[in-house]
């Protein structure tokens, strides 16, 4: 008898457990079993209504404007019949105690059912202007100085239609907001000073180490007279290739980023005082030809190799690689076009594309592709030198092997792609210029 009583007790306990479990383990409502993603539906509805800026215009109109009625009709016409909505518009204010104040609300139901979800959409008035504040390269330490070669005593080549000075000014306008300090190197003497490690401005932000040096002279590079003209001259081969080697060494030593904006890098050296009677064969005086050996020597210097004269032509063009006739911006560069608002032509012609083989030969790695690679050729890329011993980066090289005439926006885009300074938007909360549209959707009926 006792056993039976015990079993009955156990049954009572299990029954109790079952009732308690059933109390907590209730089944969901039918709509929740297989829910429609109402948040996404709401967001896509708002995006579609604003695809031609109609929503942005409507929410800034007076409440008695007929466009509100059209908006309500559009909502009813576009949403599935079993979806009910409530659209509320708020004005985003910066003053006062209330951040958002309601402007208008339209709905097609008193209740949105047992479950609902919302999407928000910020629209701007057509007469609003927004500012953004760029992050400064180097503000978190290291570098932050942009040197633009604006040397008055040197000439450029392969920059047809421009002078180095006009390109330097354009580059200044494009890039100076992103650097701690931007310094125009006004003559070859100043270039010699920074090569010696001497600052050339009174700015406390000037930092020779980890600076960016942009050569706006195209295929020519300014050369200071004196030491660099003497030590940079290879007397055996009667060439200034050794100067390019010294530039490569300096790029490595100071961890510079050396930027070649167009054509074959370092093909000439230029100093109107040093070479007053020499011209490049095309009537540009103050120039001395270096040829292909300039770039080879620069890369040797960047790689801290010993100097050896090598005049092998290493670039290629569309005559030999048809794909180089139209080279396209990389996906990364295309993305940053929108981010920074710089829109060069999406395709270019490469006549001086560098070979992939330089990567292994000179311990380089591509950290940003500005233009898409074509086979084994690199029309435009940002290279960093990797120290084979320590694995650390020491010096960088941005080369755009494009045909003349140069588009200086590509240079700016290439540098921004590589350094990626952030943009901080501001003034989004300006009174009367922004309105927040909240669309809440609910589902009625069964599944």
């Amino acid at each position: 008898m006792m056993r039976t009583i015990e079993v009955l007790l156990v049954i009572v306990i299990i029954t109790g457990a079952s009732i308690i479990a059933s109390f907590f383990a209730f089944l969901p409502q039918p709509q929740q079993v297989s829910p429609i993603n109402l948040r996404r539906l709401a967001l896509t509805t708002l995006e579609m209504l604003d695809s031609d800026h109609d929503l942005s215009q409507t929410v800034f109109t007076a409440l008695n404007d007929p466009s509100w009625g059209q908006l309500q009709t559009a909502l009813s016409a576009s949403l599935p019949p079993n979806i009910v909505y409530n659209l509320t518009v708020y004005d985003a204010s910066t003053g006062g105690t209330q951040l958002y104040s309601m402007v208008n609300s339209i709905s097609n139901a008193q209740s949105l059912g047992i479950s609902s979800d919302v999407a928000t959409y910020l629209v701007a008035s057509s007469n609003a202007t927004f500012n953004s504040t760029p992050e400064k390269i180097g503000e978190h330490g290291g570098g932050g100085t942009l040197y633009i070669l604006n040397c008055s005593d040197s000439n450029g080549w392969w920059i047809t239609g421009y002078t180095a000075q006009t390109l330097a000014q354009d580059l200044y306008n494009l890039l100076s907001p992103y650097f701690q300090v931007t310094i125009m190197v006004q003559n070859t003497t100043q270039l010699g000073q920074i090569l010696n490690g001497t600052k050339i401005s009174a700015s406390p932000y000037e930092n020779i180490t980890s600076a960016v040096v942009v050569n706006t002279n195209g295929e020519a590079v300014p050369i200071p007279s004196g030491f660099y003209a003497t030590a940079g001259y290879d007397t055996v081969h009667s060439s200034y290739a050794k100067y390019s080697f010294m530039l490569g060494n300096a790029t490595n030593y100071y961890n510079w980023t050396w930027v070649s904006i167009v054509g074959y890098p370092l093909y000439y050296v230029s100093n109107t005082g040093l070479f007053p009677n020499n011209q490049n064969g095309w009537g540009i005086y103050g120039m001395m030809g270096v040829g292909a050996s300039g770039l080879n020597a620069f890369l040797e210097g960047l790689n801290k190799s010993s100097y050896s004269y090598d005049d092998t032509w290493i670039t290629n063009d569309s005559d030999h690689v048809p794909g180089l006739a139209n080279v396209w911006l990389s996906s990364e560069a295309s993305y940053y076009c929108n981010y920074y608002g710089i829109y060069p032509s999406p395709y270019q012609t490469a006549t001086r594309a560098l070979p992939v083989s330089i990567l292994n030969k000179y311990n380089l790695t591509v950290t940003s592709y500005i233009l898409q690679q074509v086979g084994t050729w690199l029309p435009g890329a940002f290279y960093k030198h990797v120290d084979p011993n320590s694995g650390a980066f020491s010096g960088a090289f941005l080369a755009l092997g494009l045909a003349r005439t140069p588009d200086i926006r590509l240079t700016a885009l290439g540098l921004l792609c590589s350094y990626k300074p952030r943009l901080f938007p501001s003034q989004y909360g300006a009174s009367g210029t922004s309105r927040l549209v909240v669309l809440q959707l609910g589902q009625v009926g069964g599944v």
């Binding site: 006792m2 039976t4 297989s34 579609m48 466009s67």
Partner: protein, 405 residues
């Protein structure tokens, strides 16, 4: 001793019975919970998969569209329907053209010995794509990583209905009605393009008239063409309506027969996406396509501009004859959306959209969800070539739910 034994037997029997009862009770609850989780998982998968399709353009892809799978003949290596020139939920009208439509039977054309994916919405309004250039369901399922695990059906339908009807023939008065979900859209801007056959020498000639209108409170716009005899003239009209961000398209054709027997008509067949090549076949080569008679045609392409007006774009080889058993070839030299209009034999006009959105063609792609155990659906509103569409994905599991037989 006997009493204790009986006590044990009774108690053990009752306990075993109670345990069986409770196990079955809990089992029912657990089954329901597992089913609930399976269905919820399916709904989540459906939402993810729909976004996956709509928010990436697929590949191959490049900035110039020279290798973009939607505008070439290549089979995609990753699947997506987004327009590569836009962000968010804007779909490419050309990628949608390359899908193997599941809503109609394929069409066989004996001259090319090929089957064509068939998207026909009425007489003279069709989109026929050869099977060797369409992307079929199994390919897409494989690219999405759901081959053998989930089945799906993607339906992309226009949100607005733009219907055109005749109010009178002489002079021609047309009524354009704009509705969405049955709601009439008042104050909608309507732009239209009327193509009418004006006569025939060696080849038919045509005239194009464009204009605009606004819908009234009933969502109707009245278009009047004074001096136009709609009784004895063949014409086609294409209209676009815009209101509060919604855009829709509609068309109407009046085919004039001056014979008592079926007249063959040109059937446009896409031949090559990459160069815009279109074959014009003689309908007599298809079942019930009319008598064996040579067709004289005059083709034109009307380009859909960003403001939804249509502008004529000249074609090379725009005129010609199509005998039964032969076909002509014309080239649409653009990657912009528009409509290929082909007038023929002074008796009619056939239309083919270049990009599904220019004529608001609906697209149904995938398997049939009928008789499936449980189908999850999710919906997004999208634009295709600027025209408003609703994209709905139906998804079901092909692996069963394990807890029920």
């Amino acid at each position: 001793m006997t009493g204790a034994t009986i006590d044990h037997i009774v108690s053990l029997t009752v306990l075993l019975g109670a345990i069986l009862l409770f196990v079955s009770l809990f089992n029912q609850t657990i089954q329901t919970a597992i089913l609930y989780q399976s269905h919820r998982n399916l709904a989540t998968k459906c939402s993810d998969l729909l976004d996956n399709m709509l928010l990436n353009p697929g590949s191959p892809l490049d900035s110039a569209n020279t290798t973009f799978w939607g505008t070439t003949n290549s089979i995609p290596t990753t699947f997506g329907l987004q327009d590569p020139e836009f962000t968010q939920y804007a779909l490419s009208p050309f990628s949608l053209m390359r899908l193997n439509y599941s809503s109609a039977n394929p069409l066989y054309y004996p001259m090319t010995k090929m089957y064509y994916s068939n998207l026909t919405v009425g007489f003279g309004k069709s989109l026929l794509v050869p099977f060797n250039e369409v992307v079929n369901y199994s390919t897409v399922a494989g690219l999405l990583g759901i081959n053998g695990t989930y089945g799906f059906s993607l339906t992309i339908t226009p949100i607005l209905t733009v219907s055109i009807s005749r109010a009178s023939d002489t002079p021609l008065n047309l009524i354009v009605s704009v509705t969405g979900n049955g709601y009439p859209l008042a104050n909608a801007n309507v732009s239209y393009c009327l193509v009418n056959v004006t006569g025939q020498a060696q080849y038919p000639s045509y005239n194009i008239t464009s204009g605009t209108g606004v819908t009234n409170s009933q969502g109707q716009a009245f278009l009047s063409f004074s001096g136009f005899d709609g009784t004895n003239t063949s014409y086609a009209i294409i209209a676009y309506a815009r209101s509060s961000g919604l855009v829709g398209a509609g068309d109407y054709e009046h085919i004039f027969y001056n014979n008592n027997y079926p007249i063959p008509y040109p059937v446009p067949l896409i031949a090559d996406f990459s160069n815009g090549s279109v074959l014009l076949a003689n309908s007599a080569d298809f079942p019930y396509g009319g008598n064996n008679q040579t067709i004289a045609y005059n083709a034109t392409f009307v380009l859909l501009a960003q403001d939804f007006t249509l502008r004529e774009m000249p074609l090379s080889n725009r005129t010609g004859n199509i005998s039964p058993g032969a076909y002509s070839n014309i080239v649409v030299p653009t990657n912009n959306t528009g409509i290929l209009a082909i007038t023929y034999n002074n008796s009619g006009i056939v239309l083919m959209p270049w990009g599904v959105s220019s004529m608001s063609f609906p697209v149904v792609f995938g398997a049939n969800p009928l008789a499936k155990d449980w189908v999850a659906t999710d919906t997004r509103l999208v634009t295709v070539g600027g025209v408003s569409y609703q994209a709905k994905l139906a998804l079901w599991s092909l692996q069963g739910y394990q807890v029920v037989s």
